[in-house]
């Protein structure tokens, strides 16, 4: 027997692998025009793993603390062998992951994969999306440079706009009234412990659910295939789809390497809390659509403060987003088409506002 076979049977005798993996062998992936969108979830997961690995490596040299953070990142970029590569991959992969997470969410939305019985997959996914954005927000501060400092200041100030609980929330996030070294320590804790812990649990749940419930088929196609079972086309998940996913992951790896080598991530200038904010501070691109919206809302709308209204509106939209499967499930098809229309509008809005926010001064 080949060495690989020996190893497998050895493990199987002790873990019961074969029985555990049996359902996996039977798993199939529906094949249709839009099947390529199924890759997005896996790519997001792959990028998350990259983040964990590069993050752990960065942890070996990074020092949280206002007087050492910037210097430690500078040290990683200049003195540590391949430190520049690890750090740039971490930064690029973060942005790519947020992008693929959004794309994954929108593709699930338009493919209506959130329908019963997959509501909890959707819910866990939306929470994961929020967590991922939290990862982005907390991680961005860690190099403690000017842009990050002021972006955090502006961002946390916006949370204070929530009525009643806003101010306590802001103080909780900042570790005080202002953004200081205490904020950095806190964000570090969120970024390397709290958020990874929560994310891991939710990812396990999410992936487990996907495995148990199988891949969803778009509604129209589903009705067709039920009527005509012989028209059904599928691919085995293991090894066929898996191998294709592996190709996608390797492409992602190559893209990451190229980005890290050709466009290394900027270090910036160390944050000086006493210096005035540079003009035109903007958050990272994945917050731009919200930021730009808030900028466009007039200072007073009816009887409410404009910014408060904006923040509450986004909160409400977030909640509706989370509960979408439950809200949509028993609606007549006309309402469902409306909801699809709204989803298209949402995508256009996010994309359009992000571009606008990027171009605006």
């Amino acid at each position: 027997m080949s060495p690989l076979r020996t190893l497998r049977s050895w493990l199987d005798e002790r873990f019961g692998w074969d029985d555990l993996l049996a359902p996996l062998r039977k798993k199939t992936v529906p094949l249709h025009k839009l099947s390529y969108w199924y890759f997005l979830g896996g790519i997001t997961l792959f990028l998350f793993v990259i983040q964990v690995l590069t993050g752990i490596l960065l942890l070996l040299y990074y020092r949280p603390g206002a007087n050492e953070a910037f210097e430690s990142v500078q040290y990683i970029m200049t003195q540590v062998k391949f430190g520049w590569l690890i750090r740039s991959i971490h930064s690029w992969s973060a942005n790519l992951m947020i992008f693929t997470a959004f794309a994954h969410m929108f593709s699930v939305l338009f493919l209506k994969a959130y329908r019963k019985p997959r509501e909890l997959t959707w819910v866990s996914g939306v929470i994961l999306l929020f967590l991922v954005m939290g990862f982005g927000f907390s991680g961005y501060l860690l190099p403690w440079n000017t842009l990050a400092f002021f972006a955090t200041k502006v961002g946390t100030e916006i949370t204070a706009q929530v009525p009643i609980i806003g101010k306590p929330m802001m103080i909780f996030l900042r570790g005080g009234e202002e953004v200081t070294g205490a904020t950095l320590t806190r964000f570090f804790g969120f970024h390397v412990a709290v958020l990874p812990g929560l994310a891991t649990l939710l990812i396990l749940l999410h992936v487990l659910l996907v495995q148990r419930l199988g891949i969803s088929i778009p509604p129209k196609l589903e009705t067709q295939w039920i009527a005509n079972p012989s028209a059904k086309r599928e691919m085995k998940f293991f090894p066929n789809f898996m191998l294709r996913e592996l190709m996608a992951w390797y492409v992602a790896l190559g893209v990451l390497g190229a980005l890290a080598a050709i466009f290394p991530w900027n270090l910036g200038v160390k944050a000086d809390p006493f210096a005035p904010a540079p003009a035109g501070i903007k958050p990272e691109w994945y917050f731009l659509f919200m930021f730009q919206t808030l900028k466009l809302i007039p200072p007073r709308v009816w009887f409410m403060d404009g910014e408060v209204l904006g923040v509450l509106a986004f909160g409400l939209v977030g909640l509706l987003w989370l509960l979408l499967p439950f809200l949509e499930s028993d609606q007549p098809s006309r309402t469902k088409r409306w909801i699809t229309g709204l989803a298209v509008f949402a995508l256009a809005y996010v994309a359009g506002m992000s571009v606008y926010g990027h171009l605006a001064k």
């Binding site: 066929n240 294709r244 290394p264």
Partner: protein
């Protein structure tokens, strides 16, 4: 009881109203000492008009002085004949020739001024008498500046007040009132382009644009109360107050002896007096900005030294610029070169030092500074080049790993094709 309340109401209302009126009048009247001067003069048009609002800005008014302190008269009377009676001490409009004396009657009295501000100087009148303005006034010229022309009157502010006419940021404007007025200055043998020239100068820019109150203005070099153009042989003393290093070098240089012998005004010969702009290396050249060639003969020993000085500076400047270029490219490719950038600051300091050492007019001294700077710039250029080498190494490494990735992708593709065939 109701009837009583009804009757009481109008009565109490009137009482309240009356009380309010009295209180209001008292408030309005509170703090006003009787000053019949302002009562009339605040309603008169210029040049007799002085409003209460204007006068309240005056530092003398704030210290408790009033119209009578300078003009005399009776402020309690509303009758002009009594209020403005020369017999009773009213001075009327103070004659220009008398103004310095009048101001000096308090401001040269240390015991008096001590009561208000012990650290205020009391020698202004003495200084004024030594000034061109003071001397000409004494000989009968009333067109020259007296105290009120510069300090303003009736709304005189302390010099530290940014709105004061003698605050450093405003001094040049105040002097220019007369000295840039060609019509007014007709008959005097001095130019009237000083302010215009000064406005183009680097000193004016420091003061007006950068807000550096230590930058020189007219009074810094000419004095304020004892204003006199500095003598031809004294000018470098004035400049050396700030530009100490250059002055030290110049003092020991060949040019000092030569300029003194020719009665040339030192620093001013090359740098100008009012329109002092930021000097450039072209001063050492042969073009329109050249200063050396105004006196020196082309081809002689001095001209050769000049050329050596200029080429030294240009060499260092080029070395710094080329290192900056390489570092810039390295930086935009993502290489971290902050240490070398810091080193560039040191190289630039060397260049600044070399430009200062020019004032010794010794090629050996300047050369020392140039060499020091060249070494630093060379080191930074090397760092930049190494950064570029590292950058290229990274790209090669990337290329290799991308090839490896390509092999995997090809292999996977073929494998998939195979198992599905």
């Amino acid at each position: 009881m109701a009837i009583l309340q009804n009757k009481l109401r109008p009565f109490s209302a009137t009482c309240c109203l009356g009380l309010a009126f009295v209180v209001l009048a008292a408030c309005l009247g509170y703090g006003q000492t009787t000053n019949s001067c302002l009562d009339c003069h605040s309603a008169l048009p210029d040049p007799l008009g002085v409003s209460q609002e204007k006068f309240s800005q005056d530092i003398h008014a704030q210290k408790g002085l009033t119209c009578v302190s300078c003009h005399g008269g009776d402020p309690t009377s509303d009758d002009p004949d009594k209020a403005m009676s020369r017999k009773d001490g009213w001075n009327g409009k103070i004659d220009r020739k008398q103004i310095p004396q009048l101001c000096g009657s308090c401001h040269s009295d240390p015991a008096y001024i001590r009561q208000f501000n012990p650290s205020l100087r009391t020698d202004q009148l003495d200084q004024y008498r030594t000034s061109v303005h003071g001397k000409r006034l004494a000989s009968g010229d009333t067109k020259v500046a007296v105290c009120t022309d510069c300090h303003s009157v009736h709304d005189l502010r302390a010099p530290s007040d940014p709105r004061s006419t003698v605050n450093p940021v405003n001094v040049a404007n105040t002097c220019a009132h007369c000295h840039s007025d060609a019509g007014y200055m007709k008959g005097y043998s001095i130019p009237t382009d000083q302010f215009a020239k000064y406005s183009t100068s680097v000193h004016h820019e420091a003061m007006a644009v950068r807000g550096d109150l230590s930058a020189p203005t007219c009074s810094t070099c000419h004095g304020n109360h004892g204003a006199v153009p500095p003598g031809v042989d004294k000018i470098q003393n004035v400049c050396s107050n700030c530009h100490a290093f250059q002055a030290q070098m110049y003092e020991k240089s060949s040019h000092k002896k030569a300029f003194d012998a020719a009665s040339l005004p030192g620093c001013v010969v090359c740098h100008g007096n009012h329109g002092i702009v930021h000097p450039t290396d072209a001063y050492l050249g042969t073009g329109p900005e050249a200063v050396c060639m105004r006196c020196h003969t082309p081809g002689d020993k001095c001209d050769q030294a000049r050329a050596a000085l200029q080429s030294g500076l240009n060499r260092l400047d080029d070395a710094i610029k080329s290192a900056d270029r390489v570092l810039g490219v390295a930086e935009s490719s993502g290489m971290e070169v902050s240490e070398a950038r810091l080193g560039q600051d040191q190289a630039r300091d060397s260049l600044t030092k070399a430009r200062v050492t020019i004032h010794s007019f010794r090629t050996d001294l300047v050369d020392q500074d140039i060499q020091a700077g060249m070494k630093i710039a060379a080191k930074n250029l090397q760092a930049g080049k190494e950064a570029m080498v590292e950058r290229n190494r990274r790209r090669i490494g990337l290329g290799i790993s991308l090839i490896a990735v390509g092999i995997v992708l090809a292999g996977l593709w073929l494998y998939i094709k195979k198992i599905e065939s």
